[in-house]
C-alpha cells in the first residue's frame, strides 16, 4: 500500500501541492485526474524519488520513502517501473537495447536470458521482432509508448507509475495502450498510480480515481463514485467545461 500523508511542495513561493492525503491500495490502479499544470506530475515525481517534499510523508509498505537515500533509495527504485509521458526512450539505443537496459544494468542475467525476456515483452506489447533494431526516432508515438511500457515492465515491478500514458495518441492507439495497461495489470497484479487528464478513458482502467485541484485532493472514490460526485468542480472537469478549465 502507498500512503501519502499531508504532502506539501512549493516552487518559488507558489504552493503546488498543499497537503495531499491519498491512499493507493495494493494491487489496484489509482488514477489522479486534474487539469494540466495542477501538479499531477509533481505528485508523481515525489513518489518516484525525483523530488523531495517540503513536508509530509510518502509511506510505501510502512516505510517513509521521502527519507530514503543512497543504497536504500536505489533498492526501493528497483521495485517500481515508470512509463514517462514521452516514453523517455534512450535515443542512442535501439528498441532491443532500450528494453534490455534495466536487465543489463541491474541483473547478472546472461545475454541469452535477456534476449528471451525482451522478446517475450515485445510479443506482450504486440510488437514484431522487426522493431528490435529500430531507434526511437524511427518509431510512431504509439510504438514508442509500447516499447517504453515493455522497458518499464521488464523487471516485473511490484509498483507501476504512469505519467499521462496516452497523451498525444490517436483514439485507436489510446485504446491499445489502455488495453495493454489493463492486460499487464491482470497478469502481474501490480499496484499502479496513473496521472492523466484523459476523461472518460481513465474510468475504464481505474479501481480508484482521485481529483487534484489547487494543490489538494478534492474527491476520491471508484470511477462510478467520481462520475456521480456532487462537487461542481469535479463535474465541471469531467464534462470539460471551459469556465472551469480557465478558472
Amino acid at each position: 500500500m502507498i500512503k501519502i500523508v499531508n504532502l506539501t511542495k512549493s516552487f518559488g513561493g507558489h504552493k503546488v501541492l498543499d497537503g495531499i492525503n491519498l491512499t493507493m491500495p495494493t494491487g489496484q490502479i489509482t488514477v489522479v485526474i486534474g487539469k494540466s499544470g495542477v501538479g499531477k506530475s509533481v505528485l508523481l515525481k515525489h513518489i518516484i524519488g525525483l523530488l523531495k517534499p517540503d513536508s509530509g510523508q510518502i509511506i510505501v509498505d510502512g516505510q517513509d520513502i521521502s527519507l530514503l537515500a543512497g543504497r536504500q533509495l536505489r533498492q526501493f527504485k528497483r521495485r517500481f517501473g515508470v512509463l514517462f509521458q514521452g516514453g523517455a526512450l534512450f535515443d542512442s539505443l535501439n528498441v532491443f537495447e532500450n528494453i534490455a537496459f534495466p536487465l543489463r544494468e541491474k541483473t547478472r542475467l546472461t545475454e541469452a536470458e535477456i534476449a528471451k525476456r525482451v522478446r517475450e515483452r515485445l510479443v506482450q506489447m504486440s510488437l514484431t521482432s522487426e522493431v528490435e533494431t529500430k531507434f526511437p526516432d524511427e518509431l510512431s508515438g504509439g510504438m514508442k509508448k509500447r516499447v517504453a511500457l515493455a522497458r518499464a515492465m521488464i523487471q516485473e515491478p511490484e509498483i507501476m507509475f504512469y505519467d499521462e500514458p496516452v497523451t498525444g495518441l490517436d483514439p485507436p492507439m489510446t485504446n491499445t495502450v489502455f488495453h495493454l495497461i489493463t492486460k499487464t495489470h491482470q497478469e502481474s497484479g501490480y499496484t499502479a498510480l496513473m496521472v492523466s487528464h484523459d476523461i472518460p478513458e481513465v474510468f475504464r482502467v481505474a479501481h480508484q480515481v482521485a481529483m487534484l485541484h489547487k494543490g489538494r485532493i478534492i474527491a476520491a472514490g471508484t470511477s462510478e463514485e467520481i462520475q456521480n460526485h456532487p462537487d461542481p468542480m469535479v463535474q465541471s472537469f469531467i464534462r470539460g467545461e471551459v469556465d472551469f478549465l480557465e478558472g
Binding site: 525525483l50 514517462f84 541491474k106
Partner: protein, 256 residues
Amino acid sequence: MANLVRQLGQRSLNVVIEAGGMVIFLLEGLALALVPPFRPRRLLQEIYQIGVKSTLIVMLTGAFTGMVMALQGYYTLKQYGSEGALGSAVALSLIREMGPVLTGIMVSARAGSAVTAEIGIMRITEQLDALDTMAVNPIQYVVMPKLLAGVIAVPFLTAIFDVVGILGGYLVGVVLLGVSSGSYFAGMVRSVVPLDVYGGIVKSLVFGLTIILVACYKGYYTQHGAEGVSKATNQTVVLSAVLILAWDYVLTSFFM
C-alpha cells in the same frame, strides 16, 4: 541606483552559486569514477565521440595555423636575417600556446556543444529521470565517462595539432619560401625544452576537463525545452572559450 546595486549583487551571487555548483558537479563526477559499476565501453564510446570525431577539424586548424605562423614568422625574421629560427618560432608558439588553446576552442565548438545538446535533450525528454528511476546514477552513467574522455582525448588532439602545425609550417617555410630543412628542424630541437612540452600537456589536460565540465553542467541543468537547449549550447561555447583563455593566462604565468 539602489536597484542597479541590487542587480549587480544578484548577478555576482549567481556567478558564485554557478561556480560552486560546477565544482560540486565535477567532484561528484570524478568521485563516481572510483565507484562500481565500471563501464569501459561507455568511456571508449565517449573518447570516440569527443576525441576521434574531432581529429579532422583539429588537423585542419593545426595545418593552417602552422602555415600562417610560418608565413608571418618568415617575413618578420627575414628583416633581421634570422630565417633559420623559423622552426623554433613555429614550434614554440604551437607547443606552448597555440596548440592547447586552439585545440581547446575547436573541441569546445565541435564536441562541447554536442555534449551540451545531447545531455540537454536527455534532460528535457526525461531520459535522465528515466535513468534515475532505474536506480542508475545519471551523473555516473552519462557525465563521468565524458569528463574522463575529455581529459584523455584533448592532450592527444593537442599533440596532433602541434605535429600537423609544425608540418604546415614546414610546407610554407621550407617548401614554398626556401628555408633550409635542416635549420627548420635543428632550431626546433635546440629551442624546445621538456618544460615547454609538459606545460602544453598540463594546459591541454586542464582545458579538456574545463570544456567537458562546462558542457555537461550546462546540459544537465537545461530548462525550458528546445529554447533552453539552444541557450545552454551557446553558453557552453562562449564560457568554455573564455575559461580556456583565462586558464591559459594563469597556467602560462605559472610555467614562466
